[in-house]
């Protein structure tokens, strides 16, 4: 799967939980999920679980710790997909 495609799917998932809908349009790899997109920290787990379902991957708590930005999420998913 191309990185652009993964990015698009990641944004679609995050978009369900983002409170700052305006920031979604201009989001880049550097966009912070909690601070810029205003995803509630308690909801970040739901985001990761949706990644698991969408990409058929398994994420450990320690892996999830590395996810701060959209780019981090894409990198994690790509690494899991091999």
């Amino acid at each position: 799967m191309a990185r652009d495609e993964t990015f698009a799917k990641v944004m679609e998932i995050i978009g369900r939980y983002a409170k700052n809908k305006d920031a979604l349009e201009g989001a880049t790899d550097d966009t912070n999920i909690l601070e810029d997109l205003k995803v509630n920290s308690a909801r970040l787990v739901d985001v990761i679980l949706d990644f698991e379902d969408e990409f058929d991957i398994e994420v450990a708590d320690e892996d999830a710790d590395a996810v701060n930005t959209v780019g981090d999420a894409v990198t994690l998913i790509e690494a899991k997909l091999g």
């Binding site: 308690a42 787990v45 679980l49 708590d61 320690e62 892996d63 999830a64 710790d65 590395a66 701060n68």
Partner: protein, 257 residues
Amino acid sequence: MGQPLVTEVPRIPRRTRFALWLQREVGRLTSVFWIPAGAFAMKYVMGYRIKNAARLRKRFRRIVAESDEPILICANHLTMVDSMLVAWALGGSWWYFFNYRRLPWNLPEYRNFAALWFGRVAVWLTKCIPIKRGGKREEVSGVLKRVKYLLARGETALIFAEGGRSRTGRVNLDSIAHGMGRIASNVRDCKALVVYLRGDRQRSWSTVPAMGDSFYVDIALIRPQSDRKGIRRSREFAQQIAQRLARMEEKYFARRK
């Protein structure tokens, strides 16, 4: 249910281990002052009363005497002094001098006390590990690792099931602290002591309970189960604890009708 899929207790740096040891020992040595002071403030200054305190404390002491397994206390959260109230309700005051490891470590929100040096010293002495809720994931993870380390060493810790104070005044199952499940699922043989505490005059969330309030306290010892792995396992643990807490709240309100 499958076999527990428990990871090893994380190895934390020697410097962090030493810092925790120092904090614990200085806290223990000074506890002859601050534990009675805290209990005095709650009982005589604020006029708080724990209903059925003797029976509750007897039950808690029996629970900790029956097994040496780690205990994570998971409570509901309505006021900023809930951690003090829970500790007082379960152990009283003098009992902790002889069972200091059963005085729970707390994870207070850093921003609530960091402004004053006095606040920072007070939380350091009183077995607190500050956490920035919603902060950088690595920092939050570091705090959770320290709690897991402490539990594995036979200490007791308290975490609020909803992270922050419930803005609805009721247990909010949509706002469960994932860290709670993460700790419980990653520490071998860890049990969750679910604690529901509420003052009779506590309508919603607040800074402190009303003066002279009487507190209903219910406890339940559970061992969450899951045959999942990773983040789903932690999520299921957190959900089981929070659902138990919600049932305890239903029981509380049913009794008040």
